[in-house]
């Protein structure tokens, strides 16, 4: 495109009249200020209307958030989530045309430790977020990522959803809500107390915890795995916060540009089976907490323009991927691929995103009830229980074969002789890490550890296995993950032992 301009600059300079005179496509009167989609120009007022309507339409269409329900907004400080916050504020304001009827709360997760930021930097960021949240008047929770180390294993268990609500229930609930309108807004006392506790002071961060977290992060060998791991931990912490504070929905600020990137990078990461849940409007993998993505219809350009024009505050906080090169991770590479393509082909993002809309998981109802069938890290249904003649098994076998080459890995265990230990072979590599194994001698791969590692893998989905594989040792994982892994292993062992006596319900 730029080259064309260069070659014919003389011509273009005269033909291209300053196009400031372009009018808004909607009202056809005012001067346009923003171009969205392919060539739709909007003026300031129409753009605002369009933007606000889209948010309400998204929630209205999906009928997932019931009136009076407590909804936790996950705000990172970035433009998208801050825009979501401002839309919720707008929707709840007294003069809103079609008022939103849920009760919002905000959570911010401080990932400074994972990104290696200094304590002072993190405190400043926290204070900025606090000011931002105080201005909204909503209850808020500032949670340092370190708290992930104190989680209990129950986070990883899918909680039963309260009740299956049919579509008609939504309408009834709305009607009922409107009748009892006099009591709104229901700001219960207990909520305020809760709020005071949380907001009294910035949460203390134990230095030892920070170090543990940094150890965990640095135990990952690739930036790709690090980003995956961070997003898993963040997700666990969000769900935990929602559960303990009594929220039943969790709103994430993923916009469609982001989701398009996520979709493609998820495929590259082997998360094809989980795509629908990872990128859809709502995600019920946690059972009781439903994740909602109300911003998924907005492109990042719309969001940025809205935020700039209507002074929506957002706070820039450097993260794990700030200032990294394009090729530092699969996620970053995909992002630059999509944005570069988008520059020349403006419908790139929307095409990818429309695809994600059509995806559905072939969800087996019986599996959902069984805890053992979900991945330990991402809590999606396991995609690894497939027949022998599958691509997955083929990958395992080829991995196993290629592993037998280096002589040092076979020193700890001799997997080649043992036909039954296919998994042991592939995971032995997990803690081998060439140099490390040599230094620590047998200690790293000592016998009590090996079965633990092995079993951990069998509890993960394909993609999470890859993430864990890129870690030098699983021991740095937070205790709740390890404990839950052990518990599930004992379970399955026990089941195996008594399997002869069980009347199998599955067959």
């Amino acid at each position: 495109m730029c080259q064309v301009d260069e070659d014919f600059q003389g011509q273009l300079e005269h033909t291209e009249v300053p196009s400031i005179s372009k009018k808004c496509v909607k009202c056809k009167e005012k001067t346009a200020v923003v171009v969205i989609r392919a060539g739709d120009t909007y003026c300031r007022d129409c753009f605002r209307e369009y933007f606000i309507h889209k948010f309400r339409a998204m929630l209205g269409k999906n009928r997932i958030i019931f009136p009076g329900e407590k909804v936790l907004l996950a705000v990172s400080g970035g433009p998208s989530s801050c825009s979501m916050l401002s839309q919720v504020q707008e929707g709840l304001s007294q003069n809103a045309h079609k008022k939103l009827r849920f009760i919002p709360g905000i959570v911010y997760i401080d990932e400074g430790a994972a990104a290696g930021r200094s304590v002072d930097d993190r405190k400043t960021a926290m204070a900025q977020m606090q000011t931002l949240f105080e201005a909204t008047g909503f209850p808020f929770h500032l949670v340092p990522l370190e708290q992930v180390l104190d989680l209990s294993p129950s986070v990883l268990v899918m909680a039963p959803s309260p009740s299956e609500q049919p579509g008609s229930a939504y309408k009834a609930a709305v009607d009922q809500f409107i009748q009892s309108k006099g009591h709104w807004p229901p700001r219960p006392q207990d909520q305020d107390q809760d709020q005071d506790l949380d907001q009294a002071s910035l949460p203390d961060i134990q230095e030892s915890h920070t170090q543990l977290l940094q150890q965990l992060m640095s135990s990952t060998k690739t930036q790709t795995a690090r980003e995956e791991l961070l997003s898993m931990l963040r997700q666990h912490l969000l769900v935990h916060t929602a559960r303990t504070k009594g929220y039943s929905k969790l709103m994430l600020g993923d916009c469609c540009s982001r989701l398009a990137v996520k979709l493609l990078s998820s495929i590259a990461l082997g998360r094809g089976a989980q795509l629908a849940q990872d990128t859809g409007f709502s995600d019920s993998r946690y059972g009781d907490i439903i994740t909602v993505r109300p911003m998924r219809d907005y492109s990042s350009k719309e969001i940025v323009f809205y935020n700039h024009m209507f002074k929506v505050p957002s706070i820039f906080i450097p993260g794990l991927d700030t200032m990294t090169a394009d090729k530092s991770s699969i996620q970053r590479l995909t992002e630059s691929f999509v944005t570069k393509l988008q520059a020349d082909f403006p419908s790139t993002v929307s095409t990818i995103y429309r695809t994600s809309e059509k995806l559905q998981t072939a969800w087996k109802g019986s599996c959902a009830a069984d805890v053992c069938d979900t991945c330990l890290l991402c809590l999606c249904a396991l995609d690894t229980t497939v027949e022998n003649a599958s691509a997955f098994q083929a990958t395992l076998i080829s991995e196993q074969l290629s592993q037998t080459k280096p002589p040092e890995t076979s020193s700890a265990i001799n997997p080649n002789l043992n036909p039954g230990s296919a998994l042991a072979t592939t995971t032995g590599q997990c803690c081998s890490g060439e140099g490390e194994c040599g230094k620590k001698g047998g200690g790293c791969c000592s016998s009590p550890r090996v079965p633990e590692t092995t079993d951990m893998r069998s509890l993960l989905c394909y993609s999470c296995r890859q993430t864990v594989k890129d870690m030098s040792s699983v021991d740095h994982l937070p205790a709740y993950i390890l404990l839950e892994a052990q518990r599930r292993n004992r379970r399955s062992q026990m089941r195996e032992q008594i399997s002869e006596f069980i009347l199998d319900e599955g067959v």
Partner: protein
């Protein structure tokens, strides 16, 4: 021939484009006098030479801005203003906003 032009730049981003400019978000600059009018294309070259000291690949690509960085001229989309060919006026207000995560 053309008088000095005063501009205000603003760098806002999620990915830290302002970090490229030593953490300074707002720049008030006066462009030197030159024989032909200043357009955005020349401006980008000037920024690269005078303000941007490290990692120019995170801000420019070819002779335009990197895809994913939005440009606003006087609070309007630069696509409406002729993008790189827009001729700068005195007291113009130019905003660069990055939508990228890692930039």
């Amino acid at each position: 021939m053309y008088a000095k032009i005063c501009l205000i730049f603003l760098f806002l981003s999620r990915g830290g484009a302002e970090l490229l400019f030593k953490g300074v978000k707002e720049h008030h600059v006066t462009l030197p006098t030159q024989s032909e009018p200043w357009d955005v294309k020349q401006l980008l070259v000037w920024i690269q030479r005078n303000l941007l000291k490290e990692r120019p690949e995170l801000f420019v690509q070819g002779d335009s801005v990197r895809p994913g960085i939005l440009v606003l001229i006087n609070d309007a989309d630069w696509e409406l203003m002729g993008e790189l060919d827009y001729q700068l006026q005195d007291q113009d207000n130019i905003v660069f906003i990055s939508t990228l995560h890692g930039g």
